[in-house]
């Protein structure tokens, strides 16, 4: 049998577990680095020690920095990256389109429009978060309402209409965003731009995003074998006993809620949702049973690492994390794509 070294090897449970473990360990290393590095550099042992001083009677300044600034921010970065990559991987399967990403169906546009409106109205940060969440859900409901026929009673190939509906809704939100940016007072503009490019500065409550991540994984990981079959087409999947309509609705809802939770936590961080699933595909193949959990781990790892870079490279100034993910992601993706023999 001919074997080409660059081709991904057959996937099985133990190989998938090895990939997940490697990504998990890398994520832990970056987490510890995120706790230790920053404007005040701490020894690794001190940074880890701070985690166990959470309830100490006399927390010192290092404990404070780790527990109230760095840990929540790193966890929020991990959760939003994981949610974005998960949403991207799922939408690429649902739409059978390699260009799909978490924002393609308008979730982020809705979130951004509402969040910017809240900023224009000078609401406090929690009002902005709440507005972003409401906007994301408004967009999910609009797209679902308009394209429900294509999700439920899918014809020979229903995806193009769902995709087009989402894209058109997204461009409608885009126009609203541009309108608000053009009428916004100078003083608010900077905050709005940072929100739009994705920003973990001030992300202080990672728990909603982590809980959303856990729910999304529990809802979709057991369906991963069905996702593999769905990629072959609706007719083939139905003939193999996959409840196609139910599965498509489930994938749409999980992907949308994941994107909504990520956008609410960290704004519209670009590129992770598109590129992380493809990097994993290029490296390990397109088996959804491996890919879905791996995308979550790798997406979390990528955003956490990018945020570490964003706040240390030109410290004390900070870059928006979305800029870093795109600046690193573009060359990395192109390199992986083009070195593959065709």
């Amino acid at each position: 049998m001919s074997r080409v070294s660059e081709r991904p090897r057959a996937m099985n449970a133990s190989r998938a577990a090895a990939i997940w473990s490697a990504l998990g360990i890398a994520a832990l290393v970056v987490l510890v680095a995120s706790l230790a590095l920053g404007s005040v550099a701490l020894p690794v042992s001190r940074a880890i020690g701070a985690l166990f001083h959470a309830h100490a009677a006399t927390p010192d300044i290092a404990d404070e920095i780790v527990l109230t600034l760095r840990l929540p921010r790193a966890l929020a970065g991990f959760a939003s990256g994981a949610l974005l990559a998960l949403a991207g991987a799922l939408l690429q399967v649902l739409l059978r389109n390699p260009l799909a990403e978490p924002y393609v169906l308008g979730v982020s546009g809705g979130a951004a429009s509402f969040a910017l409106a809240a900023m224009l109205a000078a609401l406090p940060w929690w009002g902005v978060d709440l507005a972003a969440c409401a906007g994301a859900f408004a967009s999910i409901v609009i797209v679902l309402g308009l394209a429900r026929k294509d999700l439920w009673q899918s014809g020979p190939d229903a995806s193009p209409r769902l995709l087009l509906t989402g894209v058109v809704i997204a461009s409608g939100w885009g126009a609203l965003i541009t309108l608000m940016l053009s009428i916004a007072p100078e003083s608010r503009l900077r905050g709005m731009i940072f929100w739009l490019t994705g920003d973990l500065n001030g992300a202080s409550a990672p728990w909603p995003a982590l809980i959303a991540l856990a729910i999304a994984l529990v809802a979709i990981v057991p369906a991963a074998p069905q996702l593999n079959v769905l990629l072959r087409g609706d007719t083939a999947a139905r003939a193999l006993g996959v409840p196609v309509e139910r599965l498509r609705l489930r994938v749409y809802l999980v992907a949308s809620i994941a994107a909504a939770a990520a956008v609410t936590t960290a704004g519209t961080i670009g590129f992770v949702g598109l590129v992380v699933p493809h990097l994993l595909r290029l490296a390990f193949g397109n088996d959804q049973r491996m890919l879905v959990p791996a995308a979550a781990l790798a997406g979390g790892l990528a955003v956490m690492a990018a945020d570490l870079a964003a706040r240390t490279v030109i410290a004390p100034a900070q870059l928006p994390v979305g800029v870093v993910t795109a600046l690193i992601g573009v060359p990395m993706f192109l390199w992986m794509l083009l070195r593959r023999p065709r």
Partner: protein, 258 residues
């Protein structure tokens, strides 16, 4: 496995494609569904697979109405090869074929060694063993078609429903595939139903035929009784002549139109 059609009526919009068809298809038989474009071949195959309901009538498998089968159970009893499958992303040929073992997956949904050997056996049967590690996106149309056929074979279902399995294949591979299907019917007592535009290959390899004229008419029976010049001419709306040379026979379009 016995497939029974009871007074099946198929409609597309206002057109009646099949007006009341009753027939039994049994193990070991190879059925060819023939007819002009739009006559309802794909619709009929989807109805036989239980993916679509007929306008009226009933299809039953082993005496049980298709609607009463559980999806997973049905997927182990009948395999469907659709006319087109999607390959939007890279995957090896082996992984693509393994997807049809889905009805047998248990636990966390990883394939067992049995699944892998079934997939390899199916690839061997169609002469695709050397392609196992190839990326499906690099295959030609005909090679993809053979991969799709291997996938359906590795599902190990007693009833095979194949929608134009020979399209895109060169003559040599068409005949190889038909040999593989005929062996599957004879040696493993499978029931095979395929749609096909090549009436001569159908006459040679099928045991039975179902000829649709797209106007409600359906002729069924032994292939040599159904795919006759008279009936085929009427169904296709173009005169056909049967020519003989020794033991070879062929239906050819007549030179004299009308």
């Amino acid at each position: 496995m016995t497939l029974h059609l009871d007074a099946i009526v198929l409609r597309a919009g206002a057109r009646t494609l099949i007006d009341g068809l009753t027939q039994t298809m049994s193990a070991g038989e190879v059925w060819c569904i023939a007819g002009p474009n739009g006559a309802g071949k794909t619709t009929l195959i989807n109805v036989l697979a239980g993916l679509m309901k007929p306008a009226s009538g009933r299809v039953s498998l082993e005496g049980r109405a298709l609607a009463s089968w559980r999806a997973a159970e049905l997927a182990r009893a009948r395999a469907l090869m659709p006319q087109a499958t999607h390959d939007a992303f890279c995957a090896t040929v082996l992984d693509t074929v393994l997807l049809n073992r889905f009805p047998y997956l248990t636990g966390w949904g990883w394939e067992s060694d049995d699944d892998r050997s079934a997939a390899r056996a199916a690839l061997d049967m169609l002469g695709l063993a050397a392609f196992a590690a190839r990326d499906v996106l690099t295959l030609s149309g005909g090679e993809r078609q053979r991969v799709a056929l291997a996938a359906v074979l590795c599902q190990n279902a007693p009833l095979l429903l194949l929608d134009e399995p020979l399209s895109h294949l060169d003559l040599h591979h068409q005949i190889d595939c038909l040999h593989a299907l005929r062996d599957a019917a004879r040696e493993h007592a499978r029931t095979i139903v395929f749609s096909c535009h090549d009436l001569n290959l159908a006459r040679r390899f099928a045991t039975h035929a179902l000829l649709l004229d797209g106007r409600g008419g359906a002729f069924v029976g032994r292939v040599t009784d159904v795919l006759t010049p008279e009936r085929a001419s009427a169904a296709f709306g173009y005169p056909l002549a049967l020519i003989r040379d020794g033991e070879h026979e062929a239906l050819v379009p007549s030179i004299h139109r009308s």
